[in-house]
Assembly symmetry: C2
Homo-oligomer: 314 residues x 2
């Protein structure tokens, strides 16, 4: 049945949406515990202004610890060359530049027009090209609001394709599709994946980032997987939320996502029990923050055999 | 893109799991409001012992009101011939006899072995055969715990097929697949639908009943729809819960289910805004009961165009 890569984004997408600032030591403990549970890729933070996002102020320190974990792909989000330089200096394995297909959202999110984002992608790609092969992080352009925008409403497919092509032309290794707003559905997921792969090639789109704002997260993942997508972003406890949708969870919940794939016989390499055990640690480090997820509350089915043996602790 | 039938089971599966007993007038108000929102089929109650399920004691009165709603298919659950007689007398359009594939669960649920359930199905079918065509309700045998059992664990596919064949041989018009325990996943959903349809014919399996215990409800619905299933049970606010899984919602949430299909361009005939408005009525009639659902909390996407015009009030 094959396997998938679960890319945990809780320490970045999750924490940047929490009121509380998680102490550095707790972030590192959480990242280590998830890696020990078998999570192979974690987005550990973002190099943005600490004035805008104080929750991310310690990304450099967290990165320094994360890169010492054997076998873990350490990803970092960067809005510009300055952030990319910090990620490179810290030894990140993957850097992601967000490009909102909704230009209105792009201006609010990273204060850049599309032309400015593409220019930034170009200078980052040029900088990366100077690095020796082994030290060169993978460079992804993430197409935010690809399924619609809470500011602009529907987003035209042609715009998504234009952004994807521009990011690849600027020198990205890959683009990702992000349903920042929870507007996607299984049909639009299939359509857009086919269209983007048609424009930039299947090898240039292997990952998606879905939110669960309207409860469709796992259905959208299923549709994407059936289209050949193999990397799925999610966050522990669904951390992420959306400030404009109180009570609605944000990201796809890692625990439920792993349960779905493992139940289907598709390998994630993650030990579900160990994964769920990290919830207590996160809950303690983020008092008052609600953790989502159905599987942790219901428990695993009686006689559930989907789990592989735990990976050796990293 | 076609259409699907959403069969609301809240007034039966939902309310029988609530501590509070909803007053008859509130049940009728709720059923009328849902029908007015465009819901075409509602399971309004079950004819079981009021000592076991006091929440269902007024099923006869609710049925008498429900059958006066134009265009609504009124379904009732019955555990035996006595219940079937009451459903027939009240003019129900559809009766469902549950048969737990897990015999342990069958004994706990309706105190019958498999042989006894099949014998009951036969006497009900014989009774229905006496009725004139126009007054003969559709007769479904529902295969509970088809994806696994909280008492027995995994359930063998051969057992599901044997139960399905026995129910059809006894005279059911159709069987349904019910994931009573939330053990199903998109892969097992596909496998079991194919196997059961292979055994009894595609026309004898058109509906499924999924729970959302581990958050996979909509993903399982998507898989079933792709296999050709066209009738989906769900309950408003996910009412249903499972006493052994505190905090985990029970049934697939009607609001999220309708949103998913309408977003995909698959017609449900249901006005989402009107549907969501019935939540307040239910919340008021069931103080203290938690209503689930992501779409009602997040609201519809900006510029969402999936909804047809509201159906004329029934």
């Amino acid at each position: 049945m094959g396997s998938v890569l679960i890319s945990e984004v809780g320490p970045r997408d999750g924490l940047q949406n929490c009121k509380a600032v998680m102490p550095t030591a707790d972030k590192v403990r959480w990242i280590r515990a998830m890696a020990a549970a078998g999570v192979k890729e974690i987005e550990i933070g973002s190099f943005v202004s600490p004035k805008l996002l104080p929750q991310m102020a310690d990304t450099g320190e967290v990165l320094a610890e994360a890169v010492t974990i054997p076998g873990l792909t350490v990803a970092v989000l960067v809005p510009n060359l300055k952030g990319a330089e910090a990620a490179i200096a810290g030894g990140a394995h993957k850097i992601t530049l967000p490009m909102s297909v909704s230009e209105t959202h792009s201006l609010r999110n990273i204060r850049k027009t599309h032309a400015e984002v593409i220019a930034e992608a170009k200078v980052i790609a040029d900088r990366l090209a100077e690095l020796p092969e082994g030290r060169r992080p993978h460079f992804e352009g993430s197409l935010s609001t690809a399924f619609g925008c809470t500011l602009e409403g529907p987003v035209a497919e042609a715009k998504v394709l234009a952004c994807a092509e521009a990011l690849m032309a600027a020198g990205c290794d890959e683009v990702g599709l992000a349903d920042t707003t929870g507007y996607g559905d299984p049909a639009s997921v299939r359509r857009l994946i086919r269209a983007v792969r048609g424009a930039v090639g299947a090898g240039a789109l292997t990952g998606v980032h879905f939110h669960n704002t309207r409860g469709l997260g796992l259905a959208n993942v299923l549709a994407a997987h059936e289209e050949g997508i193999t990397t799925f972003d999610s966050s522990l406890g669904g951390l992420g939320g959306c400030p404009t949708a109180p009570g609605a969870s944000g990201n796809v919940v890692t625990e439920d996502l792993v349960f779905m794939f493992e139940a289907m016989g598709i390998e994630t390499g993650i030990d579900l029990e160990a994964l769920m055990a990290t919830r207590a640690m996160v809950a303690e480090a983020l008092p008052g923050e609600e953790l989502y997820g159905f599987t942790p509350r219901a428990g695993l089915p009686l006689g559930f055999r989907g789990m592989p043996a735990p990976a050796p602790a990293g």
